[in-house]
């Protein structure tokens, strides 16, 4: 039973005080006199009376459901358990939502800290991260007590980031793009918690997006002069976007391009005639029959002239008209034996022959190529043939004879130890035996010089770099360059590091001197000699001389590899001990023995290649390469092309770009190419 100890002048006084404090009467208490008062002597030593008063029984709780009754009841309980007087402040809310025993506890409701006091037991709160807690005006960072007398404030940091946006037009003023980084507002609030004796205060955050205003966007568009092609849905999307992005808010209309004037042939053009062989699964080659050359009678419409068609202008976002690209009229050159009808729309042949249309830059040329048909063999009796047109030989071309034609050459028989030069195409129905063939611009010499030129191109570049590097070395003096030029240094390089280059230069020179009358080779050969084979007065005095030589090499190599011409091709059944140069594709219906071949296009071989050296600029496709016990067969392509072989015997040498591999055993399904790291792959 709780008791109270009170003092007074007299026991009665002490008792009265106690009863008043307990708000009760004598009947409900036990009384203990602990000390009687004493008067002392002469006013000194006077002592007060001390009385202990103890409540007899707990008071009776009154019945009733109204809050007044509950209040009273709660008050009584409080009276029973503690002596604190009720003080307004952190009042308890009488609503029934709060559950559980509340005395001596603290709780958070709707973001407010509340508590109910009891004596000798103080609930505690600890502010956690992001909670800036003030108790009675003072910031508290550690755990602290909570009483109804205390006033608590929690401060929150509010983060606000406005949206960032930017409107820009592209160069052509065809689109207006809105770049947007949406904004947001981050607010915190104190989390509600149920009653406890020690609460850890924590916060929750709410992120609300901040959007841009459509009117602001429209105003900016106006400021930029945008008045056409505004895409309102995109603007709306941007004004509601939660994630950063780009929005095309205005789009112009691109102009519709027209077409230039052109010639529409009514015969199969050279380009259409180019056919690629098919590769069967077993690796063998199958090429469809190459069609014959087109041929027309006189008085036939061979082509139509299509006039240019203007395009339609577009509109940019600022409302300006965007003109289409200009269209050009056709530049037409009428060649031999053709005529343009008066209305300018049709071209007619005036003689029988092969129609030929080709394009160079912006010029189109159309003509009928005259044809010479030679009824028998070309031999000593008939004499050599030179013709500015097509030649068809119904027999063979015999030993030592020469046939030269600007157009195409067709031979029904063989070519035996003879020379054939065709400007455009060569079709030999049978075989080439020990002959020299050249089709297109360039020549057989080109076939031999091209690989060397390729190597020179590469090595000269390396040589340049080596000279520059050595010049920069710390211990190297460039003092003698003035007196003696670069040659002393190059001489040392040609002895050691660039020994191979010197060998190639000798080889190159030999081939040129042995016989070619082509100016570009002769000039280049002379330049090489002057630079490297002339110790006394080499042309290489400064680095720029070496640069110049390298440039010339590059240019020559480039022009050899990319001769401009309409489609050139060469076709035959079989070649033995021959030299074949063709600027374009080469189709071989059987195969070759021991032949040197250069193709500026694709080399397709139905059956085999045995012995010899074969280069094709665009790739090689062959069913079988090499022979048991035979000599080497070398196949070469540039770095960006591939070699496909159905079955390759050992002693086959494969070169792709600079990578060379010799097969040491029979290999099937070879697909030689360089992978992305430049490594030569064979399968």
């Amino acid at each position: 039973m709780p008791s109270i100890v009170s003092r007074g002048k007299t026991v009665q006084q002490a008792l009265d005080i106690a009863l008043e404090m307990l708000e009760t009467t004598k009947e409900n208490v036990f009384i203990e006199i602990m000390e009687q008062e004493s008067r002392g002597l002469l006013g000194l030593g006077a002592k007060q009376a001390v009385v202990r008063v103890t409540l007899k029984e707990p008071p009776v709780v009154q019945e009733g459901t109204d809050s007044e009754n509950i209040e009273q009841a709660l008050e009584s309980i409080r009276l029973y358990t503690g002596y604190e007087k009720k003080i307004p402040g952190n009042r308890i809310d009488g609503k029934a939502e709060i559950e559980g025993d509340l005395a001596g506890k603290v709780w958070i409701q709707e973001g407010v800290i509340r508590c109910m006091d009891v004596p000798n037991q103080y609930p505690l709160i600890t502010p956690m991260k992001n909670v800036v807690l003030f108790k009675n005006g003072v910031q508290i960072e550690k755990t602290t007590t909570v009483t109804e007398r205390d006033t608590f404030n929690v401060e929150f940091k509010e983060e606000c980031q406005p949206p960032v946006w930017n409107l820009s037009l592209d160069d052509k003023k065809m689109t207006a793009v809105l770049e947007l980084q949406p904004g947001f507002k981050r607010t915190h609030y104190l989390k509600d918690q149920s009653p406890g004796i020690h609460l850890l205060l924590s916060v929750d955050e709410v992120i609300t997006p901040l959007f841009i205003e459509m009117q602001d966007v429209l105003n900016e568009l106006e400021a930029l002069g945008v008045c056409h092609g505004i895409v309102h849905e995109q603007i709306a999307a941007a004004c509601n976007a939660l994630a950063p992005g780009s929005f095309v808010v205005a789009r112009g209309q691109e102009p519709l391009q027209g077409t230039n004037g052109y010639v529409k042939p009514l015969f199969q053009s050279d380009e259409e005639q180019r056919v690629m062989p098919k590769e069967r699964e077993d690796g063998t080659i199958d090429f469809r029959e190459i069609k014959q050359f087109p041929s027309v009678r006189e008085g036939v419409v061979i082509a139509l002239v299509v006039p240019p068609e203007e395009g339609t202008p577009g509109i940019d976002v600022t409302g300006n008209q965007v003109p289409p690209e200009p269209v050009y009229d056709l530049h037409l050159k009428l060649g031999e034996d053709v005529s343009l009808l008066e209305d300018g729309s049709k071209i007619v042949s005036l003689k029988p022959g092969r129609p030929r249309l080709f394009h160079k830059n912006r010029m189109s040329e159309i003509a009928i190529v005259p044809k010479l048909v030679h009824g028998s063999d070309v031999d000593l009796l008939s004499g050599n043939i030179h013709f500015q047109g097509d030649v068809e030989i119904l027999g063979s071309i015999q030993d030592g004879m020469r046939v030269e034609a600007d157009g195409s050459v067709t031979v029904r028989g063989n070519v035996n130890m003879a020379h054939v030069n065709a400007g455009q195409a060569l079709w030999v129905h049978s075989n080439l035996i020990s002959s020299v063939i050249s089709v297109g611009k360039g020549s057989a010499v080109t076939a031999q010089l091209h690989p060397l030129l390729s190597e020179l191109d590469e090595k000269l570049d390396l040589l340049r770099n080596a000279v520059i590097q050595i010049s920069k070395a710390t211990a190297f003096k460039a003092t003698d360059f003035e007196k003696k030029g670069l040659y002393p240094l190059i001489k040392v390089l040609l002895q050691g590091k660039f020994k191979l280059l010197l060998e190639k230069i000798y080889e190159f020179n030999k081939i040129i001197s042995e016989g070619t009358d082509e100016a570009h080779w002769i000039e280049y050969g002379a330049a090489l000699r002057k630079a490297f084979l002339n110790p006394v007065s080499s042309s290489l005095n400064q680095i720029k001389d070496l640069d110049y030589l390298y440039e010339e090499t590059r240019k020559l190599l480039h022009s050899v590899q990319t001769q401009e011409q309409d489609h050139v091709s060469c076709q035959f059944a079989y070649a033995l001990n021959s030299s074949v140069y063709c600027q374009g594709d080469v189709y071989i219906q059987q195969g070759c023995y021991n032949t040197k071949l250069y193709s500026g296009g694709m080399l397709s071989v139905q059956d085999y290649l045995r012995g010899g050296d074969y280069y094709a600029n665009e790739g090689i496709r062959v069913s079988e390469v090499g022979s048991v016990g035979g000599g080497m067969t070398k196949l070469r392509v540039p770095a960006d092309a591939e070699i496909h072989i159905g079955k390759a015997m050992e002693a086959t040498i494969i070169q792709v770009g600079k990578q060379v591999r010799q097969l040491t055993q029979e290999t099937a399904h070879v697909r030689a190419r360089l992978d992305k790291d430049g490594i030569l792959r064979l399968v």
């Binding site: 211990a475 190297f476 040392v492 050691g496 590091k497």
Partner: protein
Amino acid sequence: MFRYKLSADSDHSMLSIEGDIDIDGTELIEDEITPALMQYSSVTIDMGEVMFVDSSGIGLLIKMIETLKEEGKTIKMKFIRPEVNEVFEMLQIQDIIGNEVFDN
């Protein structure tokens, strides 16, 4: 330009070069040193005091070593400074005059 010291005991000679091996040393190498070295069966070239070379100098050096080797002499080069060795390596001198000249 460079200075040199030639010392020998019976068959073996030691050639110490001090300075730059360059075009100015042409007569020195061709007319004085090469003939002088002919009388010995082996020579060690001390390159410790050689700082700079030019292309003519390198050419002269190579020619001298090749000439001596043709006569059956054994040549060794020692104490080559790293900067000079850098130039030798860029030119792949060892492929021209032989690896054994550099073996120590």
